[in-house]
Symmetry: C2
Subunit: 894 residues, 2 copies
Amino acid sequence: MSEVYRFSKTVTDGDGTMRGLLGGKGAGLAEMCRMGVPVPPGFTISTRCCISYLDEGGQLPEDVRADVMEKMKWLEAELGKSLSGDGPPLLLSVRSGARVSMPGMMDTILNLGLNDRTVAKLAEQSGNERFAYDSFRRFIQMYSNVVLGLSHSDFERILEDVREDEGVDLDSQISLDGLKRIVEEYKDLVLEETDQAFPEDPYDQLWGAINAVFESWNNDRAILYRKINNIDHKWGTAVNVQSMVFGNMGDSSGTGVCFSRDPSTGEPGPYGEYLRNAQGEDVVAGIRTPFKIDDPNDPESMAACWPEVYQQLLDTLGVLEKHFGDMQDTEFTVENGRLFLLQTRNGKRTSRASLRIAIDLYKEGLIDKHDAVRKVEPDSMSQLLASEFDQDAKQKLLDSGRLLGRGLNAGPGAATGVVTLSAEKAVELQEEGIPVILVREETSPEDIAGMHVSSGILTQRGGMTSHAAVVARGMGKPCVVGCTTMVVHTAEAAIQFGKRTIREGAFISIDGTTGEILEGKIPTTASPLIQQLSAGTVEPGSEGEQFALLMSWVDEIAKIKVRTNADAPADAKIARLLGAVGIGLCRTEHMFFGEDRIQHVRKMILAADESTRNEALAALQPFQENDFYELFKEMNGMPVTIRLLDPPLHEFLPHGDSLIEGLAHSMGITSTAVRHRVKDLEEANPMLGHRGCRLGISHPSIYRMQVAAIVGAVVRARAEGIDAQAEIMVPLVGAQAELDKVKASIQPVVREADLDLPIGTMIEIPRAALTADEIAESADFFSFGTNDLTQCGMGLSRDDSGSFLPLYIDAGIYARDPFKSIDQKGIGKLVSMAADMGRKTRPGIKLGVCGEHGGDPDSIRFFYKVGLDYVSCSPYRVPIAKLAAARASLEEGA
Amino acid sequence: MSEVYRFSKTVTDGDGTMRGLLGGKGAGLAEMCRMGVPVPPGFTISTRCCISYLDEGGQLPEDVRADVMEKMKWLEAELGKSLSGDGPPLLLSVRSGARVSMPGMMDTILNLGLNDRTVAKLAEQSGNERFAYDSFRRFIQMYSNVVLGLSHSDFERILEDVREDEGVDLDSQISLDGLKRIVEEYKDLVLEETDQAFPEDPYDQLWGAINAVFESWNNDRAILYRKINNIDHKWGTAVNVQSMVFGNMGDSSGTGVCFSRDPSTGEPGPYGEYLRNAQGEDVVAGIRTPFKIDDPNDPESMAACWPEVYQQLLDTLGVLEKHFGDMQDTEFTVENGRLFLLQTRNGKRTSRASLRIAIDLYKEGLIDKHDAVRKVEPDSMSQLLASEFDQDAKQKLLDSGRLLGRGLNAGPGAATGVVTLSAEKAVELQEEGIPVILVREETSPEDIAGMHVSSGILTQRGGMTSHAAVVARGMGKPCVVGCTTMVVHTAEAAIQFGKRTIREGAFISIDGTTGEILEGKIPTTASPLIQQLSAGTVEPGSEGEQFALLMSWVDEIAKIKVRTNADAPADAKIARLLGAVGIGLCRTEHMFFGEDRIQHVRKMILAADESTRNEALAALQPFQENDFYELFKEMNGMPVTIRLLDPPLHEFLPHGDSLIEGLAHSMGITSTAVRHRVKDLEEANPMLGHRGCRLGISHPSIYRMQVAAIVGAVVRARAEGIDAQAEIMVPLVGAQAELDKVKASIQPVVREADLDLPIGTMIEIPRAALTADEIAESADFFSFGTNDLTQCGMGLSRDDSGSFLPLYIDAGIYARDPFKSIDQKGIGKLVSMAADMGRKTRPGIKLGVCGEHGGDPDSIRFFYKVGLDYVSCSPYRVPIAKLAAARASLEEGA
């Protein structure tokens, strides 16, 4: 079996499906040949050869060598030219091409085959001596650099000298003699540096080039690129040996790149640039400014200059798009008015373009719904939802050096406001109508109210799943966390970036999409998509219509449903707008932090006796009931899963001296007593402490109050004709008996109201997963709390992992942040075991996921495979999750 | 199939193996009958009937009723007596008897069958009218209480009135007329209270009694007892219906209880008490003082009074011991000089007696080695090793009201010393030769040095597996933890128990075996066993010899080996003395706390640059090397598993102001810098934070120093002819790549010295267990760290669980403290999965357990089933673990 695949108008061995073996470029060239698109003929040496070559310590296997020789003969015959220069000279390009594009990472050699003899023939044949020598000097320079390992700069210096001597600015202005002098000086340089003459034999050149491309697979930048992009080191690169066509043969020649649609907006029509009388490298080098392809008003545009070639390019792009069913990114060369395609691939694009192109291609009949769904990357959705800065205003600040620092881009979107160092202050300012950026070392649940009224959140510490990040994403707020170059001086009411101090009250702007922090104010707007959806009507052709259409297809395809994590009616509303089909996690404790409630919560915790505690609980109940009622109203007809109190009581107590004194005063007890209780509730490892259903068991009246509030809200809502679908979820269960104990306490409250609400459990402790068969006997549903399951299962505190987790990911110990994308091998095993065991006990048990992983596409794909019924994520991630869910179904089908 | 089993000299349906069906008492009676031991005949109604009875709502099934009637006819024929009183009256005892003894929990009725007619016959037949009426009044009183539910006290009052009227002190002094009056008044009382006459028909009496015994299975105290002792509620009780023999027929009659050996020392020979002219209840009631069985010098002893009966009892005990192969605990009655056995069972005994009896029975040829091993409860070993108080001196303090409080008995043994509130002070005092009790709110690793020099440890907080408890047990120190009635006032240098304040420097005594805390000094001695073993020679017949013999059998039987957790040579020495075959866990960090090291450790942590850090590490290395060398010397030829640094660095930094300033001064940096670093290293959940091999990866030089120290110590030891067997253990591994990373860093250090030391890993994070197949590719051995595995796997912080875990155990959510005995269903599943996966990857991989569960018999049984190679536990638990290991093997064989 040959490892060398030919492509030409007449014979093509490979095709577009063979990316693994031929690389993306080789497969594209083969496919184009099969389609009849004009492509300079050549052949592709397979990626398998690359691996053999590297495995054998840099030796091209003998049979491959023989095969290449044979294919060279075929190529010479095909073109009636000869590499050795016996007939008309055949020049070659030798280019790498891996399975996935690794732009600029590997090497390319053009004009291979030139030597003193063939350069003369080329001059003669083309009638253009200047072109021939220009090609020759380009070849020596490229080959010397790529194959012989000589520094680029030495060659550039020679070029520069000649330009200087001739008094010209551009390489294309150098005289023929100048070019000849350059060629000679280049050769001298090679001899000097390598002690060997520049190879004259074109076959020696060819073997050198092939080996160099193979070697380039393992250069440092390629290895690094693969690491970063999670590309298998065992894939290898193919080598494409292709006959040269020349864009540098004069003014009816040229070279360029062209997208079939605008990659930034998605607008149909060609989008690209070209240079006349140039080879590809000139476009990249950026010395000459290329012209547009498609602007007929610009006399330099291709449309204006070469209307026929332009039309041919247009037609070819149309054929390619139709064939590949996607927007194409092409490279082309025009040789004396003849168009050749050198490469085509699916083009990269912005999020916005991605959505529009998918919809347009469908409407144009080029793809079906499934393909359209496959074309939109789930994560790109978040950009469509994020608020935006006025770009000019932002640039102005950047240009004037007002960038203060960078943190992690934890919540996309743009926000501007005055620096505010406490949640209380944030609430005050918001009441005065002043926009606020809440800046904290780290946030804690006490800051929730402040976060809610802030335009954006900035923290000094914490990672992508820190409290600030999680809550901000849930609220859809721009958020930058872990800005370690910032110091928060609470006492001095200022923050500091290096030597720059920003006082509380001064304006800053944060870009949660990029992580930038800027001094000053920048105008922002809500994302157009959110504006359109909120308006309730979508204009035909608008992004809102595109979004709605895509989501309608997603709904047809996806088997795994998407709910949202929401505690407030406003969040629920946004999530529903974005397509959530229920609430998968309502955290009741967030409701406890409202100013009108927290005092009661604290009284409840500090109560010295049962009756005082019950009083406080009784005072809380109407608040809870109303909160639930509002949620039911918003989610009318959809399930609302309410988690009973989860965090340790300690989190609800005040810590500042004045707060403690205030509380003591309002309760009529001493502040020492309050302090004592605060200390009493402190824990060494609160994550593994007295929280979740452990509280429900030690303080049953809390859970009973919450359930009474749920029941009350359901009754009230239903009386008003609202279809309230409450599900009660018990957190932190580790054993069936534990869930039974809680149920025995709360179920009578439900039954008393003649209701029959499902009672389920979080599976968030490894032991719960390990004994899910038993727990399923008592649970109407499972919701995997994969955040805590990850923390416990990996022995990894989310709040503390910042000091070593980045190191772990750099070192490749964990491929990804396990709090962002579920660790499938370890934690995923617990999920899949528990799902299997749960279904075995209770066939059809409803299985869901709440927690950050519910909004991560890779995790969703995993949850789909495990067979879960739904994921739940923060409102702004709902479209991402839905798209990921649909794509998971499609992958399965594929 | 009959559910009613007869027993008599002539016909016996059951036997001693049928405890499940006949209960312990019924099976014992049947077995005795089969052996020819004199037993009053009767029959046993099976436990199955109890369950039927209770399931059918308190109805005796018709066929059982018929069966009982039939067996009654048989019994009447056997004895030539009649229950209905048509012939000589047959009187019955009706007693409960469950599978396991539930002393005093259920009911008994004696003298059943008496009524106005039969009492006269009994008087006539016995020629003892007083005896007949005494029996009658006893019967009415017992029956009324047990079956009719009337209060005992009303009957006692009538009895009292008569005694008063007759001017006598004892019931046995009441006149015949008095007894007759009592009978009449009893009957009136019953009529008055129940509106029904006392049942005259003996069969009515019988059915009432049988039902009452069945009902008693579900009385409150029986249910509670079963809960506490983990007895299945579905077992039920049997009913033993037995013909009465009478110990109250005069001075040649009597009743008593007798052990076949002294249950407190194990000394051979009968040990018991008896009363003449009495029924069983009189012995229990304690109104008359019983006499000894076996003191020939006491004229009231049975040996002196009834030499023939005494001899007969002795012979019977011999027969029973031989038959049952164990020390027996019997009840007997003598009726007119004739001995009857009413019950026999294996006797309860002290730890000391348990060991001696097992050895003696073996030497007497009554049992084999296996039986001997089965007879000694593993946990009883700890009592043999614990130091002891002078009992008289302790009692004197107790009598004078000097008991200060009670805590949890966390480390057995007795200690006396002056109250000392800081580790530093403890060290100072010890240097002055003053014995110290270290009293702390809780202990932390900083206290290790202080704990080491203290005679005992007392803490206010913490449970059985708190830091104090674990470390103290490891050191074999008496320890009382969680004394919540104590308040430690560090500032005032005093501790307080209620209103009593004890100043620092005053003597207290703590009993780690009972949990008591006393004011004042009590002389203590090391346990005799430890004294004998340390002396190195064991006297024949001594406890030391008994222990050695038992352990030699254990070594023959046990398949799972026992190592010890030891960091100090002294601990290693004790452990070896007690039979450890290696060190399974040497915690290197304990060595860091020595006064001569901690400064270097702190410098290493605070180092601003690499060279300062390396300097500090270089200074530490010789200390570590010498520590390891000493351990190798002590363990010559045995494996020593050394765990690399595990705790978070924060634990090594000082927290007090003066300590911080001292450190800053000695390092030439500001105390603010030190404070900053201390704060920097603080973690929200240190348990899940930057520790274990995470430190080894972020600070590779620490692990490399430690491994260099191990390597150095091995080389030095081997050069001296010591067979040093080091194993390097990497803690907190969660992924294969993580272990690989550590190995890549430390293995060169080992290879450089031309050594080949095994490198293994702890399995203590659930993810490690879940991916053990991969980890085994890189690990030479696994050691299950079940403490952390429990913490992570159950989401349960050991330090914080005190606020709810007791509640959980009370409520039966977890049957036992999962830190004491491994949670087999959940955490055990991880262990067994990991063991299976590990062996699949690497057949024969060595698997061990370190951590508290390694010393718990139930856990050891589980680890044996899973197929682990060894457990490792604190030195003083080594014999317990060994015995448990042997018993696990025997169970398997059985």
